[in-house]
């Protein structure tokens, strides 16, 4: 299928499946539907980004950028004031971030939320940090055991085979660590530790046997399988410039992995530049018939129709669409008979850690830029392991590296010796940085702003989200604990930090919740298969569906939930229940 056939604009055809969004979840939904023979339309609000061809900054050395990879001050001020807070935002990636001017949102007085946007074909799958971890049963049980949030309607066993399914296709590098709190994936070979890390791993193993240090599991092809090669993907070259796009297809993205598979079936159409305003609901049949779309560029309106609709528009994107889909039966948002739509917004809390110096290793170095770090999984993964003054836990992540001219540019020195010092690798340092769970709280919610709209006339999202006492206490403990661990392991000049007061929720870019799953239709939006309780042919399979944030990075679970939901939906359609 060539590209002319892939992209559509106007059509009156009724598709078998509509997938709204083309990021990690949308890409998987489209692939799975297409491979089951379903004629599928993927609706994407942003522009087309073609694999390889549109990675316009890839491979460009720093001196070839107009501003050496820094972004024009005025441009930031006018268009990227929010987006520039993301670590990956720079001159080589800015075209994959949403323009703040086009995507306004408001926040409740006294609160703030950093909403990072990637509204183009591929969505945040182009920009993600690629860390890939399975949830464990400790994660699925947490809400039930300590009473925060509602009980997940699924357990590890429900997702296990689906994790395997997505991992084999996506390609996840990692080590078989056999940890109860962090189930193994289907692994490609792990990235290596450097020498100081390997030594620290051994020290932690004897000092803290319950806090093993492993290599971060990441969606990179360390050794591509036949399946990966057949997708047109090759081995990771350790450039660690992933967010510019990767022509090697060495990290998982929609473009590198799910889209080619979906397109190959001949069953896929994509409607780019199609901003979904709302879902079209038929009260007589209690089914969603399709979507109302506003053209990204021309603001013209059009509609698309299908038998089943999958919302994969990102956590807040999907919820915004649902809130804006009002009818007589659902005056407060479609499939919102429970009234919890928009509530229980979570992110991760990444705001504490400690760093210090390592002595020695002057003859040790590394080669290449490893796109992952060392990782100490959550060691407070069940109530008996909780600290006395707060609930749940956190992981610690960090890497050892030698300081370089970037780190030394503020140090004193003028002349030949200073220049010489800058050209040499300096001392080693190592840090541990917390990645904590955020409790689900009813008060943390999004709603439609009563009067403000965006340029498409769609009501803006109003966000009211704050850290709670639990996150504050957790970060204080994490800072203390990280410092203690480093000092005991022999790291020198250890300094700890907390930064909750500096960074609002959102910046971990792990926003989840707001259309949660649950057993009880009275207090949840989705059932155990990500199907709305209220409307049989409407599914939400992205982060909006989460009941708890857990500690691990969420994307792999978006994938597994999505493919499982497609499998279920297809069975339901065949059984004529949808």
């Amino acid at each position: 299928m060539n590209n002319q056939d892939l992209y559509i604009n106007e059509t009156s055809e009724e598709y078998d499946a509509l997938v709204i969004g083309s990021g990690i979840s949308g890409g998987w939904a489209a692939k799975e539907f297409c491979e089951r023979g379903f004629k599928t339309l993927m609706v994407e609000r942003g522009r087309i980004v073609e694999h390889q061809k549109d990675y316009i900054a890839e491979g460009k050395p720093v001196w070839q950028y107009p501003n050496r990879m820094k972004v024009d001050n005025l441009l930031v001020e006018e268009q990227y004031k929010v987006q520039q807070k993301c670590y990956a935002f720079h001159e080589g990636t800015k075209h994959f971030f949403g323009n703040d001017k086009d995507y306004p949102y408001s926040t409740e007085k006294g609160t703030d939320f950093t909403w990072i946007r990637a509204n183009q074909l591929g969505g945040k799958s182009l920009l993600w940090h690629r860390q890939s971890y399975r949830f464990s049963d400790y994660d699925f049980n947490a809400n039930k055991l300590d009473g925060h949030g509602n009980d997940w309607p699924i357990r590890y066993n429900d997702l296990e085979s689906w994790y395997s399914h997505v991992e084999k296709h996506a390609g996840i590098s990692g080590n078989y660590d056999n940890l109860a709190q962090l189930p193994n994936s289907e692994f490609l070979p792990p990235f290596e530790f450097n020498q100081p890390e390997a030594d620290l791993k051994a020290k932690f193993a004897s000092l803290y046997p319950e806090r093993p240090m492993i290599i971060g599991r990441a969606a990179h092809l360390t050794k591509p399988s036949e399946l990966h090669l057949s997708q047109g993907r090759v081995q990771c070259q350790a450039r660690n410039e992933c967010q510019k796009g990767c022509s090697f297809g060495a990290y998982f993205s929609t473009q590198s992995s799910t889209l080619p598979a979906a397109a190959k079936t001949g069953k896929l159409h994509i409607a780019p530049n199609s901003v979904v305003d709302s879902l079209i609901y038929d009260e007589n049949t209690n089914r969603v018939k399709g979507v109302r779309v506003i053209d990204n560029d021309t603001l013209a309106t059009r509609e698309y129709y299908a038998k089943v609709v999958f919302l994969c528009a990102s956590t807040l994107g999907s919820t915004q669409i649902m809130l804006n889909s009002k009818s007589k039966k659902f005056p407060n948002g479609i499939a919102n008979s429970s009234g919890v739509l928009g509530h229980y917004l979570m992110d991760h809390v990444y705001n504490a850690g400690a760093t210090g110096q390592l002595e020695g290793y002057q003859q040790e170095f590394y080669s290449g830029r490893r796109p992952t770090a060392a990782y100490i999984p959550n060691f407070q993964f069940e109530p008996s392991k909780y600290k006395h003054n707060y609930k749940r836990g956190y992981a610690l992540s960090g890497s050892a590296s030698r300081s370089d001219w970037q780190g030394m540019k503020n140090s004193a020195g003028i002349g030949v010796d200073f220049k010489q010092q800058l050209t040499q690798a300096g001392d080693w340092h190592f840090g541990l940085h917390a990645q904590g769970e955020m409790l689900p709280r009813f008060e943390n919610q999004v709603s439609l702003h009563p009067s403000k709209t965006d340029k498409w006339g769609i009501p803006q999202l109003h966000i009211n989200c704050q850290w709670s006492e639990n996150e504050k206490l957790m970060m204080e403990d994490a800072a203390y604990t990280a410092k203690e661990m480093l000092e005991k392991a022999g790291v020198k000049e250890v300094k700890s930090y907390t930064s909750l007061d500096k960074y609002s929720p959102g910046l971990a870019i792990h926003e989840v919740g707001t259309a949660r799953m649950g057993r009880d239709p009275k207090n949840s939006i989705l059932n155990a298969y990500n199907q709305t309780h209220d409307i049989p042919n409407l599914f939400v399979t992205d982060g909006a569906s989460f009941c708890s944030s857990a500690v691990v990075n969420p994307s792999l679970t978006f994938m597994a939930l999505t493919v499982r939901a497609v499998d279920f939906a297809v069975q339901e359609i065949k059984a004529k229940r949808i």
Binding site: V416, F418, T423
Partner: protein, 216 residues
């Protein structure tokens, strides 16, 4: 056929044009021979257009910049030569780091930061007259170096505020130097496409810090 066309063909070949079997073979061979020309070309295929990048000029010190006056540009060039002098690699002034600083301050820095940069340049000249009865440009490099060391140590009339302002300017100077092609690839070790990650290599086999970074 131009180089650019060749590379486009190559990329197209990998994605679409070749029949299935040979495409698979090509991919396999690419995966086997890491760091081959094919890979390098594939991954730098979009790097050909040097759109509006700051280009080093030979005469930045001889004319007013966008932020700095002619006199200030001359002084800034001297500072670049003193902080990072010529060794087996060129000096900061030879790589037109002063021209880059002028460009970068205007484009990427706030008005306040720009003012502070101008201020410290003026302060350096003032303290030069005060201590040596000569402009900074008229000093020999030994005295220039001496004065800048005094600035960092807050001696010879320099305040802590001066020291902070200079730190910001010097930081941009160092950034400007090591993000030039010569700075990144000659003064440092540059791995455009590392070909994979090795956790332990002898330092002497690299011998320098890396100029190729994931984030700048």
């Amino acid at each position: 056929m131009s180089n650019e066309q060749e590379i486009k063909e190559h990329k197209n070949g990998i994605t679409t044009a070749l029949p299935q079997q040979s495409r698979r073979q090509l991919l396999r061979s690419i995966a086997t021979f890491i760091g081959s020309t094919a890979l390098a070309q594939l991954a730098s295929g979009n790097a050909l257009a040097v759109a509006l990048a700051y280009e080093a000029k030979a005469d930045s010190a001889q004319k007013a910049g966008r932020l700095f006056t002619l006199q200030q540009m001359t002084l800034l060039a001297d500072v670049c030569a003193a902080v990072l002098p010529k060794t087996d690699t060129p000096s900061g002034a030879e790589l037109d780091v002063h021209g880059f600083i002028d460009h970068q301050l205007i484009v990427c820095y706030s008005d306040d930061k720009q003012k502070q940069a101008v201020q410290i340049v003026e302060t350096i000249d003032r303290q030069s007259y005060h201590n040596y009865a000569k402009s900074f440009h008229q000093l020999n490099i030994e005295h220039q170096t001496e004065l800048l060391i005094a600035l960092e140590e807050q001696r010879l009339g320099f305040s802590s505020k001066d020291e902070l302002q200079f730190k910001a300017l010097k930081s941009l100077l160092v950034f400007g130097y090591f993000t030039t092609e010569v700075g990144a690839t000659k003064a440092l070790s540059y791995q455009a496409i590392p070909g994979g990650f090795k956790g332990s290599v002898p330092y002497d086999s690299v011998g320098k810090s890396y100029g190729s970074l994931a984030y700048y």
